[in-house]
Symmetry: C2
Subunit: 225 residues, 2 copies
């Protein structure tokens, strides 16, 4: 695995600067600056999670994913490897990115715009909840892998450390809202709260949601209960 | 031109039924039922508006657009004709629908997802406000037509008759919000109000916005000031 260390997310730097500035000035800290962690909002482009067996079928016996880029969540990465997705009407999406490390289920996460392009009806599901969802065929350099199910649109969600959940006054499974500002301002409701001691505070939305509000690194975002 | 009459929009039928039911039951009418007109929300897929000169360059001397489907706004239609859009990086979108009748400017309206696919940076503009926007090449069966400018993402907007503007207490140029319910609920802020005696009450959002909230004919929508 590679060891590329990406630069800190803009929201992380801003949060640090904000805290230091208020402290130096001896001014009362506004609520957003008092949060234990910066609010990072990232767009998940279409991608897949694969089992080691699927990776071997697609890339060859004993093959291991290589790191292309580390993601904000600890230990998660975009792999160098991509696959070709073949939909039920033989339409194709090339260069579908694999996210690593491997998991114990195979899951493809698409935006509705992708699904429409493929001629596919896909359900809105929480990651991992794939019973009864449609499948697809994947193609890699060493062969094909058939997924009998696992193609979903992932429910928009926020990863939270327990200290974030406490600060925002929410629990695992609650729904929050993300207010996104700017000229295409949107409030995304039905944002699922996921809490784990291994998580860093991060909202994941898909490309339809990100494009609907034209989310950029400097777009103001606020998490509300 | 064709004369196909499409069935009334679901929102139109619901609005009529709602008004009749409250009246028959002799119950006070809730605000939404008391509105002078039903709220119709439609998704505008990518399309273009063309001048007669552009239509002639693309389809031949004296060519006139044929009606594929009448739209909700009086006299507006999706044409049978489509063109191929060639972007600045020679990437292509096929089957770009022309909306008729012809106008006095050429304008292409894309979603950001389309723009990303084309490798294009396009600005968010009100329809008709195209100064300084990027251009593209269009290809039709009879030839090419170069647009030096006019490729935009249209600002989400609501068409209103003056009686709708009065009911909602807004004026031309104001911004409203559209609350969209369901499992992917979203509030679209920065919804531009356009008022004209020739308009029927209708919200236009693009495919990114429609897919972000998975708008269907039965998705509950509410217009708020």
């Amino acid at each position: 695995m590679g060891t590329t260390q990406s630069v800190p997310h803009r929201a992380v730097v801003e949060h640090l600067v904000r805290q230091v500035v208020y402290e130096r000035l001896g001014k009362p800290m506004p609520r957003v600056a008092a949060a234990p962690n910066p609010l990072v909002v990232n767009i998940s482009a279409r991608h897949c999670h694969l089992t080691p067996e699927a990776v071997e079928a697609l890339f060859g016996k004993g093959y291991e994913l290589k790191v292309h880029k580390w993601l904000y969540q600890e230990g998660q990465f975009a792999a160098q490897e991509t696959v070709t997705l073949i939909g039920p009407r033989s339409r194709v999406i090339s260069n579908l990115r694999i996210l690593g490390p491997c998991r114990n289920i195979n899951q493809v996460e698409l935006a509705y715009t992708d699904a429409v392009a493929l001629g596919f009806g896909i359900p809105l599901r929480q990651s991992g909840d794939i019973d009864g969802t449609p499948g697809c065929m994947l193609m890699g350099p060493a062969g094909f892998f058939e997924m009998p199910q696992g193609v979903i649109r992932a429910l928009r969600h926020v990863h939270m450390h327990p200290e974030d959940a406490e600060f925002y006054g929410v629990q695992k499974g609650d729904m929050m809202k993300l207010k996104v500002g700017g000229p295409c301002a949107i409030t995304l409701e039905q944002l699922l709260v996921r809490v784990d001691p291994g998580f860093k505070l991060e909202v994941h939305i898909d490309t339809d949601e990100g494009n609907a509000c034209n989310l950029k690194p400097d777009t103001p975002c606020e998490l509300v209960k």
